[in-house]
């Protein structure tokens, strides 16, 4: 199992750093530890590729099918990128512990995407969250980082409580922790008040994980204050895993009590709730992002807006929308990781992430800003970058969910209108980088070679997946088709 490989890797990383590298320079320690961790992840990926097509252990507690394999490979790849990006960090001497926690979070995510059981979902979600809380607080010299971590922790543990409450109600209603059995037990009970509470608390719990309005308060602070690799990790890999399991829990576990969000034909169930959350997230995320002057906060609010778009896939809850969600979130993760890597480099040279620090970036670091160009425009949904096809496919699948009636058209119109708004603030950032002149005392920005290489790779992937979406899409569609058999 890949999870075991990652746990073993994590322990090796910790002990190697503790036993042999204690007195070395931080950079060397990071280099050794990161290569070990990446190696472990690569081995994990190979293991997954060789694993049997379908397994189902302990009544859905541990699943393996092409879809979980795809997600696990994606998560491991994102982990590798995060680890490689952290090599040039200088904020901590606890190198082994840092990478250990990242791998532990990865383990949590690997379990999370490959299960159908409420217990495993909750435990792995907690493993993931607890690792992320500590990662957020890792820069212990910075009090803002601790403050953000505390906020994250308080909100997070509250939402975990909600989630657990919802799960226990579900168990009470269905006498099972397996999603499929729950669905068949609660089928047709859509008016039961207990079920309504279970739905609401579950939505709150996951809404927090994916930073949807009104459960988004932690996001701007964490994005603003935590160290860059951790933010990149929270914004990419953790989002991928959380969104996928959110989809699974709602669509599989609450099958039969969806309700409907069709305009003027609202039917109560979880779909209209999510439709409202999606609409609020898009509106608030985009409009508040306009007013931000810190680039990290700007990306935090844009992440909230993107969570709103992605919730459309849950509202549509079809196989096609699952494919669209996976495509969207993977390409979003690539672009976000890349953008945060660039921010990290700029921050290191200028000392802050204010918009003005990016002035004249295209003159100070041409290659880096060309990559930033690709990431930001991909987030804005401009072709030929991956984000465009992601949006196109997501909106299309939402409309296609109710083919006869165009019932979700109102949400799609809102989403497309909001992405027009988002272009404004994305262009504000690019305007700084490409239009504004560098400050008088600014010199060329030194970009570490490894970071540069990773960023270029990410930008190339963003461009490639935009020009040839079929490369990834075919894989996703095949995996979904094979897993639903």
């Amino acid at each position: 199992m890949p999870e075991v490989i990652i746990v073993v890797t994590a322990l090796i990383v910790l002990s190697v750093d503790l036993l042999f590298l204690r007195n070395q320079r931080t950079h060397l320690r990071f280099a050794v530890v990161a290569s070990l961790a990446s190696l472990g992840c690569v081995v994990g990926i190979f293991r997954i590729l060789q694993a049997p097509e379908q397994t189902n252990a302990l009544n859905g507690m541990f699943l393996a099918n092409p879809l979980t394999h795809l997600l696990q490979i994606a998560l491991l790849s994102l982990t590798i990128i995060t680890v490689l990006l952290s090599v040039d960090s200088t904020f901590t001497e606890h190198v082994g512990e840092f990478v250990f926690l990242i791998l532990l979070a990865t383990t949590g995510m690997l379990f999370l995407v490959a299960t159908q059981d409420l217990l495993i979902i909750f435990i792995s979600l907690e493993l993931l969250s607890l690792s992320l809380y500590v990662l957020t607080a890792f820069n212990k010299r910075d009090s803002r980082s601790s403050e953000a971590a505390l906020k994250y922790f308080l909100f997070g543990s509250m939402s975990a409580a909600f989630l657990l409450y919802g799960f226990s109600l579900l168990y009470g209603l269905s006498n099972s922790t397996n999603l499929i059995q729950i669905a068949s037990a609660i089928h047709g009970q859509s008016t039961s008040p207990l079920l309504a509470i279970a739905i609401i608390t579950t939505v709150i719990g996951f809404g927090f994980k994916v930073a949807a309005v009104p459960f988004h308060f932690w996001a701007p602070d964490v994005y603003e204050s935590a160290n860059i690799p951790a933010v990149g990790f929270i914004a990419s890999a953790s989002k991928v895993a959380s969104f996928f399991i959110f989809f699974q829990v709602m669509v599989v576990g609450f099958a039969g009590v969806e309700g409907s969000a069709v305009w003027r034909h609202l039917v109560h169930g979880w779909v209209p709730i999510l439709a409202a959350i999606a609409a609020l997230s898009m509106l608030l995320g985009n409009f508040v992002a306009i007013t931000q002057s810190s680039v990290r906060r700007l990306l935090a609010y844009s992440a909230i807006a993107h969570a709103g778009y992605m919730l459309l896939a849950l509202v549509a809850h079809t196989q096609q929308s699952l494919a669209a969600l996976i495509y969207y979130i993977l390409t979003y993760a690539l672009a976000t990781l890349g953008a945060f890597a660039v921010i990290g480099v700029v921050e290191k040279q200028t000392g802050n992430d204010h918009l003005s620090s990016f002035s004249g970036l295209s003159r100070r670091a041409p290659l880096l800003s060309a990559c930033l160009f690709a990431f930001i425009l991909s987030l804005a949904g401009i072709p030929p970058l991956a984000g465009f096809f992601g949006k196109f496919y997501l909106f299309l699948s939402a409309l296609n969910a109710t083919p006869g009636s165009n019932g979700l058209l109102w949400l799609v119109i809102l989403a497309i209108a909001m992405s027009a708004v988002s272009l404004y603030y994305y262009l504000q950032l690019l305007k700084r980088a490409f239009v504004a002149d560098p400050l008088a005392d600014a010199n060329d920005i030194h970009v570490p070679a490894l970071t540069q290489a990773v960023v270029v790779l990410l930008a190339a992937a963003t461009l490639l997946l935009g020009c040839a979406p079929n490369l990834l899409l075919r894989w996703i569609l095949e995996a979904i088709a094979a897993s639903s058999r």
């Binding site: 401009i382 196109f392 299309l396 083919p403 497309i416 027009a420 262009l427 239009v435 040839a468 075919r474």
Partner: protein
């Protein structure tokens, strides 16, 4: 072969970025070579395909799961516009030979823009068309924001947001149409052949039409045009007025009207005298013609005069489309070509020949400079371009506007008369600008330092544009011969059925 107009422009943009930092001249020459090559390919296609029927340029599966293809094709209408793009691209580079700051990047963005414009005109799959249509937004933002003049960041952002809102409307319409048609294909002819229900067309047509028409300067969504044109550097104004506004008009004709022809049919009731979307948009077009001309009449800034004149001339194109008869729509296409050439020329005179030398565009300040003596070439060019723009016989503008007026006379006699008012005012504002800028009576003895003479690239560019305009004016059949069969193709059958006469 025709597909290489796109590829060569994109490759050229990439090659420019890889050039060493200091090689300014190399960048210009490379950009010019790429533009000439693109023009050569376009001209070759224009000369060889004289039947105007649809030719497939490239067709490969792209996203098979959604039925989306990489499908490039050209018919008479697109061939005309591709040729226009080639000409404007070359002259734009000639008129921006004096760009010294960040030259490489300037031409890289420029070629990126040109390549995507070729792409829009050649796309036959609507997804592909939309992709190219959106790519255009980004280079045009940066061309204006980095190398522009008056209020450049404001103008650039306004243009980018208007374009993006327009394309958002188009996107909604396209996705909805795709889903309603069974989510099988995004190909233009497959969707145009699908019988969309009437109520759907009634809502999708105005959405997509207005989405495209925002970029074509439809009143009251035209306000980006004057500010954008004024803020832009000369080459970008030329491209913007010359080809980018044509993208919008082309989209109206090629997408909105072919996909949803029933959207133009009568509502069955009247609101404020309007009986159909066709009436509404025809009236908006005429308001654009008259309003643009009137506002151009009172401008103090030379470039604003040209900016508003563009709004007025683009009104003719939209009016021609709404006539729904062959002569009106063909006239529209000829006007797209003609206005592309003339707007390019006018912006070149104002932005490059005059402003880059005098550093002012105030008509009142230009008068005393005695420009007709100082730069006679500019004065002569402006007089000729102005005459063409007024619609004097012998120039391309005459043919196009005449055809549109005849078409409009058949369709909306009363509105056609109002259009006449726009033409009269059109004569006056050109006259006024010409007189104030070049032939002011109170011209003082020139106390200014002598202005630099008009350079060779500028002369060359002006001659190319003027010659094209005169050639079309004298022999419009050159374009019409391939436009007419294109309009008679099955693609436009829907429009022909409703109201074609």
């Amino acid at each position: 072969m025709l597909a290489w107009t796109i590829y060569i422009s994109f490759l050229g943009a990439l090659a420019l970025l890889l050039l060493p930092k200091a090689s300014t001249t190399a960048a210009r020459v490379l950009a010019l070579l790429v533009a000439v090559a693109g023009f050569g390919i376009a001209l070759n296609a224009f000369l060889t395909h004289r039947t105007g029927e649809l030719i497939t340029v490239a067709r490969h599966p792209w996203i098979p799961a959604l039925g989306i293809e990489y499908h490039l094709a050209a018919d008479g209408i697109s061939l005309c516009l591709i040729l226009l793009t080639g000409i404007v691209a070359i002259t734009g580079i000639l008129f921006s030979w004096n760009i010294e700051r960040r030259t490489k990047e300037f031409f890289a963005f420029y070629l990126l823009l040109i390549g995507s414009v070729y792409g829009v005109f050649l796309s036959y799959d609507l997804f592909l068309l939309f992709v190219f249509y959106e790519i255009v937004i980004i280079p045009k933002y940066f061309l204006i924001a980095i190398w522009g003049s008056t209020r450049r960041e404001y103008g650039a952002m306004k243009l980018a947001l208007y374009s993006f809102i327009g394309s958002a409307m188009v996107l909604i319409g396209l996705i909805a149409a795709y889903v309603v048609a069974g989510a099988k294909s995004m190909s233009l002819d497959a969707l145009a052949g699908y019988p969309f229900p009437l109520h759907f067309q009634m809502f999708a047509f105005p959405l997509v039409f207005v989405g495209f028409a925002i970029l074509a300067g439809l009143w009251p969504f035209h306000t980006w045009a004057p500010t954008g044109h004024v803020a832009a550097p000369t080459a970008a104004s030329m491209l913007l007025a010359g080809v980018v506004m044509k993208l919008g008009a082309y989209g109206c004709l090629r997408v909105a009207m072919t996909l949803f022809p029933l959207g133009l049919s009568p509502w069955g009731f009247h609101v404020l005298g309007f009986g159909s979307w066709r009436d509404v948009f025809a009236l908006l077009a005429i308001i654009g013609i008259v309003y643009g001309a009137m506002v151009a009449l009172v401008q103090k800034d030379f470039k604003f005069v040209i900016g508003y004149s563009s709004v007025s001339h683009m009104g003719f194109i939209l009016l021609g489309l709404m006539t729904l008869n062959q002569i009106g729509i063909s006239g529209s296409v000829v006007q797209m070509f003609s206005h592309g050439i003339l707007a390019g020329l006018l912006f070149a005179v104002v932005g490059r020949m005059v402003y880059d030398r005098t550093h002012t565009r105030e008509l009142a300040a230009l008068g005393p400079m005695n420009l007709n003596k100082a730069i006679p070439f500019a004065a002569v060019t402006f007089v000729l371009a102005g005459m063409a723009s007024m619609g004097l016989p012998g120039f391309s503008g005459f043919v196009a506007e005449l055809m549109i007026l005849i078409g409009a006379w058949h369709a909306f006699p009363i509105l056609a008369i109002c259009t006449g008012l726009g033409i009269v005012v059109g004569v006056v504002y050109v006259w006024r600008a010409m007189q104030k800028a070049f032939f002011a009576e109170h011209a003082l003895a020139s106390s200014h330092s002598p202005l630099p003479p008009i350079s060779i690239p500028e002369r060359l560019g002006a001659v190319i544009l003027l010659a094209t305009s005169i050639a079309i004016g004298l022999y419009p059949q050159m374009l019409l011969k391939i436009i007419t069969p294109a309009l008679n193709s099955p693609l436009f059958e829907g429009i022909r059925k409703g109201g074609w006469n």
